[in-house]
């Protein structure tokens, strides 16, 4: 090996180790070598940057504040260093050995390497995705295997901006500062809140790549999707059902997503066409009122800089997590704190707290906490707080320090005075029935209890209004696995229920016992 080859190789190694090669090795000896080193740096811009250690934004802000408060701005010579502990870039021999062994294990297991390669390539492709335009098709399948086209949309995406055109011509745009919807049939433009933005939770290329990276996943095959060769990835969200993502073998971008069968339905999102990194017409994301259209205000809210402003506009005294939101929106009667993928909505708590019947219940601020899919909701200090998104628990704990999620780890004994025998074959058949989309009431412990109690009262069947009315029933406990329903009227005082087949929002409730009055 000649000296120039070694020099180039050492240079690449130094860059890979996040070191400064010029400081280590000095100046390149010849113009030719200098040119090669510059080429390495240029090619390396394709690589995802090495991001700082967690907690960097806080340390950065702290260091900036220190320097600003020192009053010398950028001229100060003594640098307020960001916590040096995050910069131990040279590995100790023991750590280096451990890292080497780990790498060896990874390299010896080709399956693992292949998986990480697929997701790494997707991550890289997504990072390089400046924009895209495509046609997205949504198809649903029921548990009986019947499939139908739900809708087809055309969409444009660039950074945080997106625009979606539906088959009926309805055109929705969110450009990060405003969100609006053109409704050609009514000749109107509705101004909508920028966040929370439920329309954004469809199949977004960036979101899916992020999720695939976060969750355990494995390659399960290769298939042809919309005429394109794709790698099929099984993704297993913790505590959830597996779902599938197909990654285009050429572009390395997500091409199709198939959700798990939930509530008897499974949805498949497919990009039947897409073009990447193109010159998008900036007019797509620009608000213009077409001639003959009128503006309909649907309280789009205002983007404000401080919580104080938000409080003044909404008339609320918001409760805040320690973590500072990316954006704050104020409405006449609510405040929305936007944390990117997670949103907090605070509104006045006007009525008594009524959790969704099918939600699991925890506690927060001394009262009930509703846990419903990816959402937490509770009342605190005269406010109703609703947090939706992956960081919900972390942020909720910063507001309600006593927050306790439903405890499903220790399932207490069924202490019902009368045990109800369960026919598991029947329960399985009922669950399958619900999965096929019928009798969804079995997903609601309250309705199951109402039906059970009334059939005890009138075994011949429930005709018209039930003998013991709905108003007499109240869910007093629901940890997602077990529930108890109190009954204030009739021969039964308390009903005990369990999710015997699946312990998530798709599992049916079955009565396992009761206490007579």
């Amino acid at each position: 090996m000649n000296e120039a080859e070694k020099r180039l190789s050492d240079y690449i190694d130094a860059l890979n180790a996040e070191q400064e090669p010029e400081q280590l090795f000095g100046v390149a000896g010849t113009p030719e070598l200098e040119k090669l080193l510059a080429t390495v740096r240029t090619v390396r811009t394709l690589r995802e940057p090495a991001l700082p250690e967690p907690g960097y934004p806080e340390r950065l802000a702290h260091a900036v504040v220190e320097k600003m408060q020192a009053g010398e701005g950028g001229k100060q010579k003594e640098k307020a260093k960001i916590a040096k502990s995050s910069r131990s870039r040279r590995l100790s021999p023991v750590i280096a050995l451990a890292a080497g062994l780990l790498l060896f294990v990874l390299l010896s297991t080709w399956g693992g390497l292949f998986n990480s390669d697929v997701v790494h390539a997707m991550e890289k492709a997504v990072a390089q995705l400046a924009n895209y335009h495509g046609t997205l098709e949504m198809r649903s399948t029921n548990a009986a295997g019947e499939e139908w086209l739900v809708r087809q949309v055309e969409l444009w995406s660039e950074g945080e901006k997106y625009a979606v055109r539906q088959a009926d011509g309805t055109f929705t745009v969110n450009n990060g500062e405003r969100k609006w919807q053109l409704r050609p049939e009514k000749k109107e433009v509705a101004l909508l809140p920028v966040v929370p933005d439920p329309g954004k939770t469809g199949f977004d290329l960036r979101d899916e790549a992020k999720r695939a990276k976060e969750y355990p996943h494995q390659v399960v095959g290769q298939e042809l999707i919309a005429g394109r060769k794709a790698v099929k990835l099984e993704i297993q969200p913790p505590g959830g059902l597996p779902y599938y993502l197909w990654i285009d073998a050429v572009t390395n971008l997500p091409l199709q997503l198939q959700t798990a069968m939930q509530n008897g339905l499974q949805t498949t999102y497919t990009y039947t066409a897409f073009e990447l990194n193109i010159k998008l017409d900036p007019g797509i994301f620009t608000f213009r009122l077409p001639e003959g259209y009128q503006v309909v205000e649907e309280d789009p809210g205002q983007l404000v800089l401080t919580v104080e402003e938000a409080a003044a506009i909404s008339g609320l005294s918001p409760l805040l997590p320690q973590e500072v939101p990316v954006r704050i929106f104020a409405f006449e009667d609510r405040i929305v704190l936007d944390y990117g993928d997670t949103t907090i909505v605070e509104t006045p708590a006007e009525r008594t707290f009524e959790p969704e019947a099918n939600a699991a219940l925890g506690t927060a601020a001394g009262g009930p906490l509703e846990v419903w899919w990816e959402r937490l909701r509770w009342h605190q200090s005269g406010l109703e707080i609703q947090i939706e998104g992956p960081k919900r628990v972390e942020l909720a704990r910063q507001i309600a320090v006593d927050l306790a999620l439903p405890d499903t780890s220790s399932v207490p004994e069924n202490r019902a005075r009368v045990q109800v025998p369960v026919d598991m074959d029947l329960v399985k058949a009922n669950q399958q029935q619900v999965d096929r989309g019928s009798s969804p009431w079995q997903l609601d412990p309250l309705q199951v209890a109402v039906t059970f109690v009334n059939l005890e009262v009138t075994p011949e069947g429930i005709q018209g209004k039930p003998a013991v009315p709905f108003s007499a029933f109240k869910v007093t406990k629901n940890n997602g696995v077990q529930a108890r329903v109190e009954v204030s009227d009739g021969p039964i005082k308390q009903v005990y229920l369990e999710r015997l087949i699946r312990q998530d929002e798709t599992g049916i409730w079955t009565v396992v016992g009761y206490d007579p009055r």
Partner: protein
């Protein structure tokens, strides 16, 4: 104290904007420690400037990038005085900030085109060594080659790439 010196305000600004600024800087300096230092210095200078001039921060991201390029250039000059070269060009801040996005996309396309001009085995070496960051030994193991063969192949591949990128100079690739 002015709002822009207020700790909470600074924290909000840093948290909301650091990542895109850091990424921008990292692409220029290709080193985490330096990117962290330049990011910090950029905020200090930017906020101090806004304080002094009561400047509108409407296009704050663009403003931050301009400052970042100035910080990088200053460091480059300091190093040059110390005889340490830095392998990126002294860019025109205004042009880079306003057209940065398009330039980034164009640059990536040019590099990818150049990579496509390599032989499969050469491209694989570049991908593993430079883009994925594997060591010579790991790359050799993955490709079933000797370490010496990997070093030779990567040298040859970078030579060819340099030539291919030269051919595309007019398309706006940032080069020294």
């Amino acid at each position: 104290m002015d709002k822009r010196s207020d700790a909470k305000y600074i924290e909000q600004i840093c948290k909301a904007t650091w990542e895109s600024l850091y990424r921008f800087i990292y692409y220029k300096v290709q080193n985490r420690e330096e990117a962290e230092d330049v990011t910090q210095e950029t905020y200090v200078r930017a906020l101090a400037y806004l304080n002094e001039h009561n400047f509108s921060d409407k296009n704050f991201q663009g403003f931050l990038r301009t400052i970042a390029l100035n910080v990088i250039r200053d460091r480059w000059r300091q190093r040059k005085r110390r005889g340490l070269p830095l392998n990126f060009e002294e860019v025109n801040p205004r042009e880079t900030v306003t057209e940065d996005h398009q330039r980034d996309v164009a640059q990536r396309l040019v590099i990818e085109n150049a990579l496509a001009g390599l032989r499969e085995d050469q491209r694989k070496v570049i991908e593993l060594r430079i883009i994925k960051g594997y060591s010579v030994a790991e790359t050799a193991r993955l490709l079933g080659k000797t370490e010496a063969a990997v070093r030779t192949a990567q040298y040859r591949a970078v030579q060819i790439l340099a030539g291919l990128l030269d051919e595309n100079k007019e398309t706006g690739v940032i080069r020294k």
